[in-house]
Amino acid sequence: MKTYVAQRLVIALLTLLGMSVVIFVLLRLAPGDIVDILFSTAGYVSPSEKQAIMKELGMDRPYVVQYLDWLHQIVTGDLGKSYRYDLPAWEVIRPLVPVTLELAALSMIFAVLIGVPTGVVSAVRQDTTLDYALRVFSLAGLSMPAFWLGMVIILGLVSWFAWIPPLTYVSPTTNLKLHAIQFLLPALAVGYRSSALIMRITRSSLLEVMREDYIRTAWAKGQTGRIVIWRHALKNALLPVVTVIGIEFAFLIGGLVVTETVFNLPGVARFLVQAILWRDYPVVQNLVMFTAIVVIVSNLVVDMLYGVLDPRVRYGS
């Protein structure tokens, strides 16, 4: 187990190092840079001034030096300086983190709350009309663009209830109820989309478990259907579902990017889009790197958890 964990950690670190190279190179391919964008709004500025700004931002140095400098910053936990806001990047990002975390957690809860029960019902009623209906329902969620789902929810609220959700962020301390509504709606939109994968895995893995001997034994004992399914079968069927949640995380982030934009929530994901449009290198670099770290760590944790949950899984020897 220990060697396995060590191996996984080394691989994870190497993967992150590779990602940092990919991210760095990708952002340097960009045709325009922040100086050009700042200038296009300010009108004409002399080339010498441009040089001065480039120097001030450290953009005149060779790429290798810039890259190593960035790596050093990441390792020491310094996230550099945002070109656009002229502030340390972390100061810009920090207030946005709780918003995204709250939205991600709520979305995940919705995804599980929608995905697991529909998956169970679909498996138990395999090949009935209800099964087909639930599968179409979940596939529909996967097919709708997250941003459109958000727009339709807002539109529905406006036209049926003549109620417009708050246009700016409401903090939980000023108005808890409004805050809850503001978060629950986008979380529902993201969660519904993410529930599709959970629903499928729950369904197929439950179908497999239901064929096992111990389930037949439980039926033979005269156990009621509800207990057999929810206590005996689901316990083992949920193992693959746990693994999926790791993969789901990457998918969820994609949903958050657009949903935060539609619902105008000041979160990290919306900020990422703005930073990309502004070519604010340090912010984009660090945010994408942060995303990569979150995805890799969550996959790692889930893999470890799998060994704990299922005693049959043994890592290495």
């Binding site: 590779g18 391919l29 596939l139 998918f251 982030i253």
Partner: protein, 298 residues
């Protein structure tokens, strides 16, 4: 599958396999939902090809006299904030979506497929290193990678295709590699090797055709997600540039401002995207069940 008695008697070269129409008919009977998805994809294809004939107005001509118009006989799905006909724009948007979706899916799947084929066939250290490199690409969320890429490359149709296809590569490579790993060990491959057939020829002539099932399934499944990513990129202003009417850009922030006055501005393009993605997902699911027996019924 029962072999027809007559087939045994006919000389070599006669067709033992059922004809194309029989296969399609069986698919429609066994997988009605998948067939419906396929039919919808066909409708989209026809729309994309004959967009000029199906349009009622010029999709990019503005009409200041009739902005945010409600749907009527003249404008079937109404007009947008610049007075452009939404129906005609959706018809042309099908072309953009399909071209970008198919091109990026094919590019990503073919590149990824070749990488997966070689990586799986060669095996050993090459395989290990390739897999780790693919891990790097797959670790980033698909949309984030596409976002950063399209921003870096600048707005143009080709760049959007590249941005969407790169995230598909690792996924395609995984699928093809896993089926190559099992095919590689089969006796007919061993026989080919014993006959002295060259490695590249074995990989491309003998192994590749047998990975077509998973490959087709992969392409159909990725097509839906490619269309969705294109719509999202265009919505955020990083996708297909003007003047091409793209479904995603029809929903962009500027359109959202008028949503209350004219809900059709938001509804119709979104329905078009959802239907396109939904039908390719339906078809992909049904094809997976049919072509990949390991996953049957799951």
């Amino acid at each position: 599958m029962a072999v027809r008695p007559a087939a045994i008697a006919v000389p070599a070269g006669a067709r033992l396999q059922p004809g194309a129409w029989t296969v399609v008919a069986r698919f429609v009977r066994k997988k009605p939902l998948g067939a419906a998805g396929g039919a919808l994809m066909l409708v989209m294809l026809v729309t994309a090809v004959f967009a000029e004939r199906l349009q009622t107005h010029d999709p990019i001509a503005t009409n200041a006299a009739y902005t945010l118009g409600q749907p009527n006989l003249e404008h079937l799905l109404g007009t947008d904030h610049l007075g452009r006909d939404i129906y005609s724009r959706i018809v042309h948007g099908a072309r953009v979506s399909l071209v970008v979706g198919v091109a990026s899916t094919l590019m990503g799947s073919v590149l990824g497929g070749i990488i997966g084929l070689l990586s799986g066939y060669i095996g050993g250290k090459t395989d290990l290193v390739t897999q780790r490199i693919l891990d790097i690409l797959q670790g980033l969320p698909l949309l984030v990678l596409a976002l950063v890429m399209s921003a870096a490359l600048g707005p143009s149709v080709q760049n959007v295709v590249i941005a969407i296809s790169i995230p598909i590569i690792p996924r395609a490579a995984r699928v093809i590699r896993s089926s190559v790993l099992s095919i590689r060990e089969m006796q007919y491959v061993e026989a080919a090797r014993a006959l002295g057939v060259q490695h590249l020829r074995i990989a491309f002539r003998h192994i590749l055709p047998n990975t077509m099932g998973p490959f087709i399934v992969l392409c159909t499944a990725q097509l839906g997600s490619a269309i969705l990513v294109e719509a999202t990129l265009s919505y955020l202003g990083l996708g297909v540039p003007e003047p091409y009417p793209s479904w995603g850009r029809m929903l962009s922030v500027s359109a959202a401002e008028y949503a209350q006055k004219a809900p059709h501005l938001v509804l119709f393009p979104g329905i078009a995207i959802s239907l396109a993605v939904f039908s390719s997902n339906l078809l992909g699911d049904a094809l997976r069940d049919t072509l990949d027996p390991r996953l049957r019924g799951s």
